[in-house]
Structures are given as structure tokens and as C-alpha cells.
Amino acid sequence: NKFNAHPDSRCWYVAWNPKGTLLASCGGDRAIRIWGREGDSWECKTLLQDGHQRTVRKVAWSPCGNYLASASFDATTCIWKKKNDDFECLTVLEGHENEVKCVAWAPSGNLLATCSRDKSVWIWEVDEENENEYECVSVVNSHTQDVKHVVWHPTQELLASCSYDNNVCVYKEEDDDWECRATLEGHTSTVWGLTFDPSGQRLASCSDDCTVKIWKECQPEEGTDVAWKCVCTLSGFHGRTVYDIAWCPLTGALATACGDDGVRVFKEDETADPDQPAFSLSAHVPKAHTQDVNCIAWHPKEAGLLVSCSDNGEIAVWNYQSGV
């Protein structure tokens, strides 16, 4: 199932809502679209056209599914509230100096993280009493360049970010302030995407260096309480920049979105040593789209269901079946 989501423009990101009944997409046309299933096809339920003045780069659903956050090149992050088929803009978060590249809700629903080309990561707290009130509680400047993506740990209050500076940073809260506790070096070019495994013990990153790296939390040295090391590198599989990566919370399969127009799924091999995992290419669609694939996301409820989107403005839904 493939459909054009953002006419004459690129589709940058697509996200399932927590129930898996809706898709939110955003793109270079400055719009956000909400899609619902109608029989065998997807129909646009809502068009949010006036929220941003420039490209909308990413969208993220709150864990409860009632709110949507959108990150834009216009340097703002918009918080939308769902009211039936419509969305109302509750508040606009300002502060970043230039393009916001990502927004992510913590699993608790109380915290939000944003990151930007201004090299910073901002952590915001949602006011429990007032859904319009968001307070910035920390601004962290650990990266030396454009920050591309932020992702929260599935169970702990831990945040990871990745950057044009080729590194991944891991953050924890200390005395009401968020700090970078570990810098993961290894990629040789921009790191575009991050995803935690279902347990949160491992982190996968994808890069312009055409590789995927798997990082595992390990025994920290004296004086630190957080340490991660690279336990696996997947190279030779991707022809160009890997823009996005997603670890399936239901099956543990790893999917990637690549600038060579392909979508790939990797499965973990049975190995004796958890510190030396191995992954094999399980499925590959070389021409998933006619242009770069920007985003890939697993359905939260239905195992094997995947969505991708592309520079050609299209969204495609896939069925992955692990071979017998």
C-alpha cells in the first residue's frame, strides 16, 4: 500500500499513534497530515497547514495518544491536542536559535525533548495541572554541531541524542538538571537516527557513514555511572546514508531507511555472547521508493507491520514476515 502524502514535496517523517489506528506525517510542504485506515486504503483525516512557517521535520505522538508534537525548521515546536478528527494548537515552544530537528515524548508523558541545529538539546516539563504550560528545565550543549535526533529510553528516565558531529550523547538527570553522562564515539560521519531495543539495554544508531552501530550499556569506570560501548557494527549492507532506524518493540527486528531508496530488516542471530551480538539481513526491498527513504517505523501493536516515507512524498506500508 503506497500513497502520495505530501504533493510535490518530500515526506520527512511518519509516526503511528500509540494505538496504531492513525499515522501522522509531515513534510517540506510545511504541513502535517493525519491518516486513518478506510478499508484497504489510507485516507487523510486532517490537514494541519498553518502551524509552521517552514518545513515540518518530525512529528511525535504523546504516550496517551491525545497530543501531537511537531518540530520545524521555523525554530519552533508545536503542541497539538486531538479533538475527534481535528487538532488544535495548544502552545508553541520557542527558544531554539534555528531549525528544530526532532521532538520526542518521554514514556512517562511528563517530559519532552527537542534538539536543533543550534547544537543544543532542550528538556521540557509538562505542567500536570495545565496542559498549555511547558517549562524548559534544561538546555544541554554537549554536541559541537547540529543535533539530528533525540530518543527516550523505554523504561528509564534517560535520553540519547545524535549529531552532525558524528557522536551519540546519553543524558541523565542530576539535581533537577540534565547532563550528558556519556559520549559514544565511533561513527565516521553524521549520525542520523537512534533507537533503543525493547529492554532498553541496547541502542542502535545509523549514520551517513553507511553503517549501523549497536551500543550496549557496560560497567562504568570509577567516577562515572553511565558507560556504553559499541558491540556490533553492520557495514557493507547500505549503499548510501542510513537516515532512520527502528527496533521493533514486539519482535526485536531492526529496520532501516536508506538513501539508496531501500528498506532493510535485520534479525539478531542466536549467539552465545551477549556482548558480541550478530545481526543478519533478513529482508531487503531495494526500490522501496523511487527516492531516498527518510523514515521507518514499526506498528506498535501488529507485529511485522512497517511504515516508511520518502523524498518523493510517498508513504508505504509493508508486511514483514520472518522466514521459517
Partner: protein, 150 residues
């Protein structure tokens, strides 16, 4: 294992029934697209300044790749990123969508070669830059074709 488009019996390839069977695109054709781009500072084209040369254009029509090396006039040229961006934009606007376009500085010809190349290769940075109306205007000025060239 299989990865199939949902609700399709077989994988559909990109629709191209409407596309005419065209001659493969070659180096000369790419060069013709970029040779008359204006230098941002001097009233001369990139070809006249030897910033672009046909020999530094590499096209692979089968693989859908285009590579252009450009040589800034001086190693500290502050316009290098802008020139590279103009070349990239001209090609993005002129070539079929299937092409992957790589524009970089001729190796060894600029002091900030790696930094400039990295920016030009980052499509998110390029997209954001082109949403800046002032920068877009400067790029468009470089791309205005001159009456004397065809």
C-alpha cells in the same frame, strides 16, 4: 523471510509507463547544465573561471549517480559553499528525480574542503538553507542564465 507491500500480491516497481525512453544522460549534458552558472562575485561563469570542467563531471546513468567536482578560484575562497550549493540546486532542479547528486570540492583545492563537502552532502542542511529567502535569492542570481550562452 519476506518484505512485501501490504495488500499487494507482488512487489510493485515504480510506475514509469509514462516516461519516454530517453537517451542516457552523459557527462557533457551535465556540464552544459552547470557551465554557465554565474560566479557570485565576478561577472564570469564557472566555466570561464575554470571552477567547473567537463573532465570533473562523472555520470553513471545506469546507477543514477552524478558526481561534480568543482575547483574554487583560491584555496580560502569564502564563496565555496555558495558555489557548491548553486551547482547542486541547478542539478536538483534540472535532472530526473532518480539521480543521486554529489557535489564536492576538487580534492586538495580548499582549506575547508571537508567542512564544505559535508554541508553540501547533508540534504537536510541544504533544504533548510534554501528556505532562507535571502540565501535562495543569492543562489537564484547565480543561476540566472545569460543571453550570450544557450
Amino acid at each position: 523471510s519476506s518484505l512485501k507491500q501490504q495488500n499487494c500480491e507482488r512487489l510493485q516497481t515504480a510506475k514509469d509507463e509514462d516516461e519516454d525512453v530517453a537517451d542516457p544522460i552523459d557527462d557533457r549534458e551535465i556540464f552544459d547544465l552547470i557551465r554557465s552558472i554565474n560566479d557570485p562575485e565576478h561577472p564570469l561563469s564557472l566555466e570561464e573561471l575554470n571552477v567547473v570542467e567537463q573532465v570533473r563531471v562523472r555520470v553513471d546513468d545506469q546507477e543514477n549517480t552524478v558526481g561534480v567536482e568543482f575547483t574554487p578560484t583560491i584555496p580560502h575562497c569564502s564563496m565555496a559553499t555558495l558555489i557548491g550549493l548553486s551547482i547542486k540546486v541547478k542539478l536538483l532542479r534540472s535532472l530526473p528525480e532518480r539521480f543521486k547528486i554529489d557535489v564536492h570540492i576538487t580534492p586538495g583545492m580548499h582549506t575547508s574542503e571537508d567542512a564544505v563537502n559535508k554541508q553540501l552532502a547533508d540534504k537536510e542542511r541544504v533544504a533548510a538553507a534554501l528556505e532562507n529567502s535571502q540565501l535562495l535569492e543569492v543562489v537564484n542570481q547565480c543561476l540566472i542564465s545569460n543571453a550570450r550562452t544557450s
